[in-house]
């Protein structure tokens, strides 16, 4: 046998270890994203397709008062894309569980929170990249945000935080599903009403009456309204604060729920 090195334990406080563990797992998830072509397609190509679909195919028949449809659309697509990212959160956790990787992690002296924290942080990071890409794609198809750069960045941060908080709910779904295929299927009934029955693609005032109330005031619409207002430099009332309140409320409920589910299954 070859000479083995004597292990050197690094000395850090437990909080710093927790952060380090979260980053280690996040890095691993991001590497996977780069190496699984379908994951990358799902993350980047799909939102680009949505941009093209609504900009050139449906866009012609959708009329929004006062502004070109493309300026209405791109902020909406950005919100939709960041929320769709949470599907990856659910699938990734379901896969880790299915493959027994989480079991291996359980036998390591790492922070308990790292598997969930690392997964959500990785998906948050991926969303940053996707937001940047879609911003450029949007500009290429005619999107002209008239707000300031600072408020554009504020808008991006708002939706990233909002999507991050929601992703804890999808983490719960991923941990509750028997396998990754089911996890994916389980996310759609949640994500479709939230993103399509909203102000992301069209104005809720054009929807049937029974749907309007929901589509107007549900959290994703508030987020889209706030993001659009910030990007276009138009009035959007309290939408930013309402969105933040939803985000904090969501994470306060969903994170403990996901953590409890993690303890149960792992």
């Amino acid at each position: 046998m070859s000479v083995t090195s004597v292990p050197v334990h690094s000395s850090k406080s437990s909080l710093r270890w927790a952060v380090s563990d979260v980053l280690t797992i996040a890095r691993r998830n991001l590497l996977a994203l780069v190496r699984i072509p379908t994951a990358l397609v799902f993350a980047v190509i799909q939102p680009v397709m949505f941009v093209l679909l609504f900009r050139y195919i449906f866009g012609g028949v959708i009329k929004i008062p006062h502004i070109p449809y493309v300026d209405f659309l791109i902020p909406g697509i950005l919100v939709q894309t960041t929320i769709f990212g949470a599907v990856g959160t659910a699938i990734g956790l379901a896969e880790d569980l299915q493959r027994g990787l989480i079991e291996r992690f359980r036998a390591l002296p790492m922070a308990r929170i790292a598997v969930l924290g690392g997964r959500t942080v990785a998906d948050f990071t991926r969303n940053i990249g996707v937001v940047i890409i879609i911003t450029f794609v949007g500009m290429a198809v005619g999107f002209r945000p008239s707000g300031s750069v600072v408020s554009y960045i504020q808008a991006c941060l708002l939706m990233l935080i909002f999507a991050y908080c929601l992703s804890w709910g999808f983490a719960f779904v991923g941990l509750a599903a028997p396998n990754s295929e089911t996890a994916q299927a389980m996310t759609f009934p949640l994500i479709f009403p939230l993103t399509f029955a909203s102000s992301i693609f069209v104005q809720p005032s054009k929807m049937p009456g029974w749907l309007q109330g929901f589509a107007e005031h549900q959290p994703v619409s508030e987020c889209a309204t706030a993001v659009r207002g910030l990007m276009l430099g138009t009035a959007h009332g309290d939408a930013t604060w309402i969105t933040l309140a939803w985000a904090i409320g969501a994470v306060a409920i969903l994170a403990p729920l996901a953590t409890a589910q993690y303890r149960k299954v792992a």
Partner: protein, 335 residues
């Protein structure tokens, strides 16, 4: 410090609100510095035991000390002193061999530069240097197991749990892995190994515990187990299965254990081999049955298991196997 790497007392673990008893009052003492084998078919409770000892699962009752530390009270301290490699070779497919080891090393809270050095060292030791920068998706089954074992060794733990380390491997990969395990033990590591391969337990383990349906049904060295259950196997081969059945009936009462008839071969575990062989020959000759072959051999652990449980080790009752894995999730679906 206790003399034992593992001391488990009266471990009980139930699943599905007590409906299923995966472990039923199991007591184990694993001495330091040797390979200890946990032998049994699927669903016998081996994996459940490993999961309890590696802090993944809490026992329903009983006390387990690993390296002198209580697994329920101080799981983190236990985790720092063990390595775990399993039958599912839980390496991350999307990472390279090196990245897998680095990740596990960092999650073991080891110093970064040490982790890098140690990862290369292990890749070298397990013949994976050339594949170090390839994603493990491209690895063969044997390579994955070696990497998985490497991951369990990053922190140089004094105690290693190996849950069916060679299940599903080809003979050459199995031999390779056995060699590695023997090397580790020479280096002072204690290994608790589960296996359903009797040959593996026989070759590696100094001491054995045989589990069936969550209970210990025998323990001792493999030699002791063989001796206890009859010293010789009389194996008679007949021309036809019909002859074998008739022959089995004729000579069955020569042994206190039931004759095992498989195809044209009848196996009989006996105490006084040569004398009984003559007896058997005489009886068969008188009945006019022609023999194709007759042999006396040392019993294999297969014979031992058969005699202990009345069923073959490979006999998997589907229900049992399901119960143990579905206490969790259908991980098997993926392998």
């Amino acid at each position: 410090m206790s003399d034992y790497a593992v001391e488990a007392l009266n471990i009980v673990r139930t699943f599905k609100d007590g409906e299923v008893r995966a472990l039923n009052d199991v007591t184990l003492q694993v001495p330091r510095g040797e390979v200890f084998g946990l032998l049994g078919p699927n669903g016998s409770g081996k994996t459940t035991m490993i999961r309890i000892l590696s802090t993944i699962l809490k026992p329903t009752s009983g006390v387990a000390m690993v390296n002198g530390i209580d697994v329920v009270k101080h799981p983190d301290a236990v985790r720092r002193s063990i390595g775990l490699a399993g039958q599912y070779a839980t390496v991350d497919e999307n990472l390279t061999g090196f990245e897998n080891l680095r990740m596990i090393g960092l999650l073991n809270h080891l110093d970064k530069s040490f982790v890098i050095k140690r990862s290369h060292e292990l890749l070298e030791q397990f013949g994976l240097s050339d594949a170090a920068n390839r994603t493990t998706k491209t690895y063969s089954g044997g390579m994955r197991r070696r990497l998985d074992l490497g991951a369990a060794l990053v922190a140089n733990p004094p105690l290693l749990f190996l849950d069916e380390p060679t299940t599903g491997l080809d003979p050459q990969s199995r031999q390779d892995l056995w060699g590695i395990i023997e090397g580790l033990v020479e280096g002072g590591t204690t290994v608790l190994l589960t296996t359903q391969y009797l040959e593996e337990a026989d070759r590696l383990a100094k001491q054995l515990v045989v589990l069936d349906h969550g209970k210990i049904i025998a323990e001792g060295t493999s030699q002791e187990l063989k001796t206890r259950l009859g010293s010789t196997v009389l194996s008679v081969t007949f021309a036809t299965t019909d002859d074998a059945r008739r022959g089995g009936e004729l000579i069955g009462d020569l042994s206190p254990m039931p004759a095992i008839i498989e195809g044209t071969v009848v196996d009989l575990t006996v105490d006084r081999g040569p004398a009984l062989a003559a007896d058997a020959l005489r009886r068969l000759d008188n009945a006019g049955i022609t023999l194709v072959g007759l042999a006396l051999r040392e019993p294999s652990l297969d014979d031992v298991f058969l005699n202990l449980t009345g069923h073959k080790a490979e006999d998997v009752s589907g229900l049992d196997a399901d119960v143990v894995t579905s206490g969790r999730r259908a991980k098997k679906a993926h392998t």
